[in-house]
């Protein structure tokens, strides 16, 4: 484990404890600390253990998943602007989830929603991978991503029009804007297997991603297997993006910002980038969620909206700098 990973890990743990102190219900710090170690009154323990900590865990897990997915996709597509949100992977994931919700499929099992979300993510990633395989450059891939995003948006509207199920539109909008409010441990446990398997697949692909830096042919001549690397990253990021959409709706840009910040600290190595990006992205989303909880607004600001408000300008800044580096 590198020193950077260790530092980020410790910071994550500290932030996680800190997040137990933040919430809309006024609660003295002493009571919160007591509840954390399972002391104090019942109400305090419920607030900390059943409301604040699961919400913090969901924010961190979703952020880490998006950061890892972003770093993995960037390594595979060799583009620092790749990320599930930008490439339409999250939008397709949300589309499949919406179809499952609106056509009443989610009534069969709690697993239907995450499975639909993962399937949607896999469909979009597969389209991108086929394009990348046929030699599509970075710009083409981003354009395909934009196309996938708008297509998913249009199909979502269509699904809402055709749906026989009178699911509350405001619930849906809430979910699509991205939020981890009111998430329970059960929600996290449901997403955990997909998150863990997805993370493992992307991490296993790490050395192959570094070899791919020299191009597919050279990577193959080094003894790497570019096809296996591609399948691992596609499978892994589909699971990560799908499970995070199922948990928190669509949240964009975290997967771009975190790897961009980490890259100079790991000498631009696509493998060493993975774990620190996940940790940093988890922290970013956790901080954003604490901010959202503390903001004195009438109605809570949605986490996805907050992420886009900060991440959108950063995305534009990175893109503009790239344009200058390689005209």
């Amino acid at each position: 484990m590198s020193r950077l990973t260790l530092i980020l890990g410790l910071m994550s743990a500290a932030l996680f404890a800190l997040s137990a102190l933040a919430g809309s219900a006024p609660m003295p710090i002493a009571d919160t600390l007591a509840a954390l170690v399972w002391q104090g009154d019942d109400a305090g323990r419920v607030i900390v253990w059943e409301i604040r900590l699961p919400r913090a865990a969901a924010a961190f897990a979703v952020g880490a998943a998006l950061g890892l997915a972003g770093a993995g996709l960037q390594g595979l597509l060799q583009n620092p602007l790749a990320e599930p949100g930008v490439l339409g992977v999250s939008a397709f994931s949300a589309l499949f989830a919406v179809i499952a919700i609106f056509f009443g499929l989610t009534a069969f099992s709690a697993l239907v929603l995450p499975l639909a979300a993962i399937l949607g993510a896999a469909a979009a990633t597969a389209i991108l991978a086929v394009a990348a395989l046929r030699g599509a450059g970075s710009v083409t891939l981003l354009l395909i991503g934009i196309g996938l995003s708008s297509l998913a948006g249009a199909l979502m509207s269509l699904a809402m029009n055709l749906a026989p199920n009178p699911y509350s539109l405001s619930d849906l909008v809430n979910w699509m804007m991205g939020s981890v409010a009111n998430r329970s441990w059960a929600d996290i446990l449901l997403a955990a297997p997909a998150l863990l398997v997805g993370a493992a697949l992307v991490l296993v692909a790490g050395p192959g991603l570094r070899a791919l830096s020299l191009g597919e042919e050279t990577a193959a001549s080094l003894g790497a297997d570019p096809r296996r690397t591609r399948l691992l990253v596609i499978g892994g990021t589909s699971l990560l993006a799908g499970a995070s959409v199922a948990t928190a709706g669509t949240i964009g840009f975290v997967g771009i910002v975190a790897p961009h910040i980490v890259r100079p600290f790991v000498k631009h190595d696509p493998q060493s980038l993975l774990v620190p990006s996940a940790l940093l992205a988890g922290m970013i989303l956790l901080v954003a969620d604490i901010g959202v909880r503390m903001l004195p607004l009438q109605q809570e600001l949605k986490l996805g909206v907050a992420a886009a408000l900060v991440g959108g300008p950063v995305f534009i800044w990175i893109a503009a700098r790239l344009g200058r580096a390689s005209p």
Binding site: R210, A211, L222
Partner: protein
């Protein structure tokens, strides 16, 4: 040891390498020469297992290359492409460390002592030791080329195939690279280079194979394979009054 027999490689329906046979033994330093479009790079790629073989066979050691898996091939043979883009601004030593990928797929700082020693010595051999910690995109074209050559030298493979390793090197580094490759051959490796500089080939290589239109037209020591007839017919040059090559005509 590499032996190629009856090799045919098609690109877009055309045979760009046609009925090519040659062998490359340990200790040999062989140049592959020919005019633009003669099929040199494609032949090298086919031997390296990168370009699909139409017909004929490539044997590496005592085994048919077609039946070899990636890792066995990577342990036996290393290939330097003509074009060497690097997607990320990697550190030079991490690029050279990729030469050890089949032994240890780790960045330089996490390599074991033996792999690290191989990287260090390769960097010294290609006069790139002072560039080890630099980011690749901050290096000049010639410096980048030396880092990529070091990646090849660091490899555990005994057969090295280099496609225009001297391109973009200054004259002094061209000479020192040819000397280094000659030393590698002397130490038991089999080395093949695609070269455009026929005088460099004649001076350092034990053998020169000349391709023209995908076919082999000469194979032997430089003085016989680069005969006046071949120079005029294939390269459209002749020896001038001062001994240098001038356009024939």
């Amino acid at each position: 040891m590499i032996s190629v027999s009856g090799l045919v490689v098609h690109l877009a329906g055309q045979a760009v390498v046609n009925d090519l046979s040659f062998s490359l033994a340990p200790g040999e330093f062989v140049a592959l020469a020919g005019p633009n479009g003669a099929g040199k790079s494609t032949a090298l790629k086919a031997v390296a297992g990168i370009a699909p073989i139409g017909s004929g066979s490539v044997r590496i050691g005592d085994r048919d290359a077609a039946g070899m898996n990636r890792s066995t091939r990577a342990r036996a043979l290393a290939w330097l492409p003509q074009f060497r883009p690097v997607a990320w601004n990697l550190c030079a030593e991490d690029i050279v460390a990729l030469g050890r990928f089949i032994e240890s797929p780790a960045p330089y700082i996490r390599l074991g002592a033996a792999d690290r020693a191989a990287v260090d010595s390769a960097l010294v051999k290609s006069d790139a030791a002072h560039l080890a910690g630099r980011a690749i995109h901050t290096l000049s074209g010639g410096e980048q080329a030396r880092v990529h050559v070091a990646r090849l030298l660091a490899s555990p493979a005994q057969n090295l195939l280099l496609d225009e390793p001297c391109a973009s090197l200054d004259i002094s580094h061209q000479l020192s690279l040819m000397q280094t490759l000659s030393n590698e051959a002397a130490s038991g490796r089999a080395v093949m280079v695609v070269l455009h500089d026929l005088e460099l080939a004649a001076r350092y290589c034990s053998r020169v194979i000349v391709l023209d239109g995908g076919r082999k037209v000469a194979d032997g020591p430089p003085e016989s394979s680069l005969s006046d007839d071949v120079l005029r017919r294939v390269f459209a040059v002749q020896r001038g009054p001062s001994g240098g090559l001038v356009r024939a005509g």
